[in-house]
Symmetry: C2
Subunit: 138 residues, 2 copies
DNA sequence: GTCTGTGCAAATTGTTTGCACGCAA
DNA sequence: TTGCGTGCAAACAATTTGCACAGAC
């Protein structure tokens, strides 16, 4: 990370914890992960740092699951799948996310598309294996 | 719509307003649209009906922009682009949104994907034309 | 010493819910 | 008459913010 601001041990810890996780934690998840190691850490600090890291491009907000924003420090372009049953957010690493058709239509319409930001919704493997029915989509 | 519950004039109005709009309004947007015609309409009613229509599959929540859920009564599978600058939610009707590679990876991993709920992020035409810089994605 | 980062708690905001009443069946 | 739908306001939950102090430079 390129600290565009003054160095802070806690900011670094938040970033490191996010980088170390592949579960795309929420602000509160990070808070609970770090609290044991930083007993005086406050939730507001986690929110404030996440916000500034997102603004700086070091972190991406990859989903909002049940009202909670979920974050990712792995900013290389890749898609995410959000499980409609358990709320898990999975990485879908791939070189090309959208189809030729989609790219062409976007091009024709003059849209810019962020290659890091495709979100899919569905069921993760465990939920599918456990026999959870597909939610109400055809 | 197939009213699975007792008929209600307001529920119908909410659904109709959603169907008539292509802007993917939020609950509050719908409330303000309908309030002049239904002076005693309450915001809670809009939320309650949207929730039950989503549960019934008649409406889809297609995005969460700046903390507000955005809805769509056009449930045929299509993708959406969320403008990172102005928050507009655009329809991207197309037969295939995700790349072959993406579909294959999802298939290999045994994931179910809801074809109605693909979300892309970027810039809409007006924001791009007005010269807003691409947000921090490479 | 200066100025940014933080803890804490209060404020804000989108959404949900309890309750008494209204309206569709 | 029965019971779901609604208005209203209070309750909730995620996030933001004001303020005084701590810590990086």
């Amino acid at each position: 990370m390129e600290p565009a601001q003054r160095f802070s041990r806690k900011r670094q810890a938040i970033y490191d914890a996010l980088m170390a996780s592949h579960a795309h934690p929420s602000a509160e998840d990070l808070y609970h992960t770090l609290k044991p190691h930083y007993p005086d850490l406050s939730l507001g600090t986690v929110y404030r740092n996440l916000k500034s890291m997102v603004a700086g491009g070091d972190v991406v907000c990859v989903a909002n699951v049940e009202g909670k924003d979920r974050f990712d420090a792995h900013v290389e372009p890749h898609a995410h799948l959000v499980c409609r049953n358990c709320g898990a957010v999975l990485d879908l690493p791939m070189t090309q996310v959208i189809s030729e058709e989609c790219a062409r239509i976007a091009e024709e319409r003059g849209l810019s598309i962020d290659p890091r930001s495709l979100r899919l919704f569905g069921l993760c493997i465990s939920c599918k294996d456990r026999g959870f029915p597909d939610p109400i989509w055809q």
